[in-house]
Symmetry: C2
Subunit: 371 residues, 2 copies
């Protein structure tokens, strides 16, 4: 039995390649560090869905198409309000609202994908504002995707620097091989089910803490350490009592996660605007160096390197997002990859259906004539 | 690469065993033909969730527990009404309402499973009545599960024979190894996500036509054939023009699907009550014999045998259900298996995360400074 299907190749893909030994992430042909900080989110989504970057006019039409799909239906809005009123976690709100995105529309893979990509920021933004006692802001069609998400959250047009930082983040996490949520989406649509069903399943999978993408604890760690000179003792003590150091180590990457470099640079640039963020960033870089040194010493050969969560926490925190919204924000980027994988799987048109080993009893009989 | 993970063993399970060569289905120790026609649905659900049949007092408490969870929240009811008003397919209505089942409740695996099992018939019944212009009927806590589903659909208490026939059907389809929807649920909760997320994903997977569980076309075939003497020419012609004969052949079973025998008997018993159903059943048995003979002759060695859909169609039709509700009715039985698999997967606490082969381009560079 292949526990957890470790090492089993389940499908071929043209969407992304994770080379854990070399620390390389390729997104539809481009190294993540060459693409994420420079492309718009719309360009990256187009690249994933169409297999190439758009020409300028295609880029504009794609932006307009997405922008026209941002408003939620009355039924979806009502569910988001109910979810916020009941204070369900953000990922539950997303899981409740996303399956309603097909209401009143004909099923169509590319159409469904565009609607899902456009709607995620509206769902999360509306939920977040209502949860915090503020009214939702109307959608705007004159902002690019990343800027629109910040507008949905904060009710104000973001500066170019802030929009760029979020865009770089969303691009960085847009796809990552056959992770558990992407695989769940592909399994679902391998029955020829629709895009919204696949994406709904992916949201449910991403919700689980083993998926990763939970960078909140990195901030708790930095707040607890407080200053660089306390880092070494803090890290040594955590390891001594058997706890993991948040933001280090990855199931696949045995060297530094290439996304960490992209997001470190984005956090660095963004942190210049506020002294508090600059101090946190400098502390983080110092803690990173210390943690790597101590981890190599205490856990030799384990190759625990900085992962994507470490600098995600810094970027999103500097943007003013609260840790509770981090995973839902991750979903606003990963939705592009989910949709592209689902459409790729549709073309396979082959059920994903492994076997199980039965280890239970056999030959039991009911007592008497009935159970 | 293992296309579709064919033949790959992904997990161990104590829930069910499909022996395709011998034509045997074991449900937590019991042969399906020894269990499904005799046990209550509640006993089978208990068996799957707890690993053994309940003692009499446990059976009663389990029935009461389920019966107390049948009512939908205001938010879930509103979504079911919206879905019916927009005339979305039944499986879409289920996918929209199920994720809302967690609203206002603390997350708890067994609790969530009980609520999901209890709520599926209410969701499908309410949707079906509103879709057809009738008001929903209030839930009742004084009916067993199968009888309550018929009450939700038809607004009247069913006869013991009708309730037994549906109960036998729900028991027969309660679990079936690692089918695509069950596997989707396990992948989702392998991240430690919750039961409702897993079950929501399973509904999305079951929706797809490759999943099976679409017995409607069997009735179309029988209506088209009309009388036994026309069967042979009809079947030969279908095969000649390259079409499949509905209700025959299965990915796993190379002999007669053991569930076909259970449901054939249930359909036979139920059909005694109405001449029209009796005639359809007799026609079906005759068509079955003819089709098996012709299939063996025209497709030698393919071992296309009667599958579960063939007699599912007859049971559900004799109960007065419309083909459009067949897959959602299937879900009202399979939900027990989904929940049990999800809870079994939670105990594994191991991510299901296979690999993909990257077959796209590499080393592409953006033109100029930006994309």
């Amino acid at each position: 039995m292949a526990e957890g299907l470790d090492g089993v190749v389940a499908t071929a893909t043209r969407l992304s390649d994770v080379d854990g030994e070399a620390g390389r992430l390729t997104i539809a042909g481009y190294a993540v560090e060459d693409l994420a900080p420079y492309a718009s989110f719309e360009e990256v989504a187009y690249l994933l869905l169409q297999g190439r970057l758009p020409e300028p006019s295609e880029h504009v039409r794609f932006m307009q198409d997405l922008a026209g799909r941002r408003a939620l239906s009355r039924a979806a809005l009502a569910v988001v309000h109910e979810a916020a009123a009941a204070k369900v976690p953000p990922m539950d709100a997303l899981r409740m609202a996303v399956p309603i995105l097909s209401l009143g529309r004909e099923e169509n893979p590319v159409d469904d994908a565009m609607t899902a990509i456009a709607s995620f920021p509206t769902i999360v933004g509306t939920y977040w504002r209502v949860l915090n006692g503020r009214g939702p802001v109307p959608v705007r069609s004159d902002l690019p995707h990343a800027a629109h998400y910040l507008h949905q959250l904060f009710g104000a047009e973001p500066s170019a620097d802030r929009a760029r930082a979020l865009e770089t983040y969303l691009n960085t996490v847009c796809d990552h091989g056959l992770n558990a949520s992407t695989f769940a989406a592909r399994v679902i649509v391998s029955t020829r089910s629709d895009v919204i069903s696949g994406v709904t399943g992916a949201v449910g999978a991403l919700k689980g803490p083993l998926h990763g993408g939970a960078p909140g604890p990195v901030l708790d760690m930095l707040k607890d350490i407080k200053s660089a000179d306390r880092a070494e003792a803090w890290v040594r003590n955590e390891l001594k009592v058997g706890r993991r150091i948040m933001g280090f180590g990855h199931r696949v990457y045995k060297v530094r996660d290439p996304r960490a470099a992209v997001l470190s640079k984005a956090a660095d640039e963004l942190s210049s605007a506020a002294l508090e963020n600059r101090q946190l960033y400098d502390l983080a870089r110092s803690v990173e160096q210390t943690a790597l040194k101590v981890l190599d010493e205490v856990k030799p050969g384990r190759n625990l390197r900085t992962n994507v969560e470490f600098f995600t926490a810094l970027v999103l925190q500097a943007l003013g997002l609260e840790p509770k919204s981090f995973v839902a924000t991750f979903a606003c980027g990963r939705i592009a990859g989910w949709c592209a994988h689902v459409i790729e799987q549709h073309a396979e048109d082959h059920l994903i259906r492994p076997q199980s080993d039965y280890v239970g009893p056999r030959g039991l009989k009911l007592k008497g004539g009935s159970a």
